[in-house]
Amino acid sequence: MQLLWQILVNGVLLGGLYALMALGLVLVWGVLNIVNLAHGALIMLGAYACYYLFTGLGWDPFAALPVAMVLLFCLGYVIQRYVLNLIIRAPMFNTLLITFGFEVVITYLAQIAFSADFRTINPSYAGANFSFLGATVPLVRLLAFAVALALTLGLWLFLEHTRIGRAIRATAQNLIAARLYGVNPRHLYALTFGIGAALAGAAGTLYGVVSQINPYIGSGLTGKSFAIAIIGGLDKSIYVLAGGLFLGIVEAVTALYIGPTYTDVVSFGILVLVLIVRPTGLLGRTA
């Protein structure tokens, strides 16, 4: 029982981070109708940005987070504005494939630039932990969880209550009507993709703090983000949070009772099951 409680705590802490990973993917998917297969590669870049700010300049990883977000925002804006905008109305398969192309380019450029070695980000407080109702809670994981939660909430507030946020939601609902109200879709699409990339950058920073990184982590993380998006549905960022927590707990329980090599198999099985039973997500509206 003690063990199960510990596993649940681990799962929830991991799940918050998973939710942040999926958030950017869901935003881009919902607004631009692009499933960004390079999302995981952007997360990886965020992790390396943090790694180099930490080892090179000695910054605290959590202070590096906003910088990573700004860098990734710029990259995302440029990718959407100058490349993806050119094909945004092409058939779904083409948009899927082109982001796949970006994934490959980013991954292997990263391999040349950063080498294929595993890296870790170890701030002085990396080993610190405390006890919570009998379960051990590592400090960095809790901090990562809190930041993930704060960013999820922040995105929700941004979309609900700011002018740009409203324009993004309007575009997602009806492009032509949004244009009539003076929205410039080229700029707005780029902005949305940039925000998605910035969220990936934030997720990458946190991922780098709690786990090892190398240039190839991207595709696996895209898969996880996608699974969360499907479980939670595309409607609200709060649902993404639920999807992330769900997957985090399922993975932790699987690792304990079936075996750590099977976590991907189980989460993929759930993904396929959900796709078949409720393609709009467990919590999403029925189409």
Binding site: G101, Y108, I112
Partner: protein, 316 residues
Amino acid sequence: MKFSTKLALAGVGIALLATVPWWGSAVLVQFGINALILATLAQSWNIIGGYTGYPSFGNSVFYGLGGYGVAIAMVQYGLPFPVGLAIGIGLAVGFAILLGLPVLRLRGHYFAIATLGLAEVMTAIVSNLEIAGRNVGLILPLVKGDVLFFELSLILLVVTTLAVMWISRSRFGFGLIAIRENEQAAAVMGVNTTLYKILAFALCSVFAAVAGGIHAYWITYLDPGSAFDVALNVKMIIMAVFGGPGTIFGPVLGAFVLSAISEILAAKVTSLASIFFGIVIVAAIVFMPRGFADLVRRFRQSGWRYFQENIRTYRV
């Protein structure tokens, strides 16, 4: 060009290719085997992705199952190669049907990504199977004879292409194209869409499995990582899309051209070839979204404006 002329040209091309092992260097023959196997994979992907319009990102699973069929039969049971191939085909077809029943009900993004995770799942499962040598892999009996493998791969590619040619002019193939263009309309016209899609998936798994079996026996070594290689999915899709999905010779052409270029680049830096593939995907989708075959057909009319027109069609 008349169809008979095309056929004669193809015949001459195949005959010329068949002689390569007799005059080509060892390096050329080995490159040839790889290119032929990749062309077969691109062509088999063409059946489900190009003709049926279901872009599978998981076909390397069939390739891996074919390889494991051969490896398990030969190493664990001492059976001959053809029996191993048959087992590999059986595994792949069985898997295609079992998987196809639920997954082929999905459309668009959902289908693509449901298949995208397959390779990693299979890697995880096979790494835990004693009979498949876990994550260490299996070592197959050594056969010297690049010539044999070259001719086998060539025959396989020709058979796969003939199958695609048959699809493009048969009732079955018209059914698949109808599904690609409008699935509901196809169902209304009396096409048994579920059956057709699963048959197409199973058919493409057969060729991919044989390719995997031949490759495993040639390399004489198989482990989960290389058998279910995700990068292989990328390559076969890019080659088919670059050449022209839903055409008979497009995928083969795409496979030969891209293999040759990446071979030259990989000779310098290995990761350069991968970056090149990525850039080709991005550029091809922006400038020639309907493939090389369409470019050749339409470039004569529109010239350089062809690229502009493509961009104008799909931009914001």
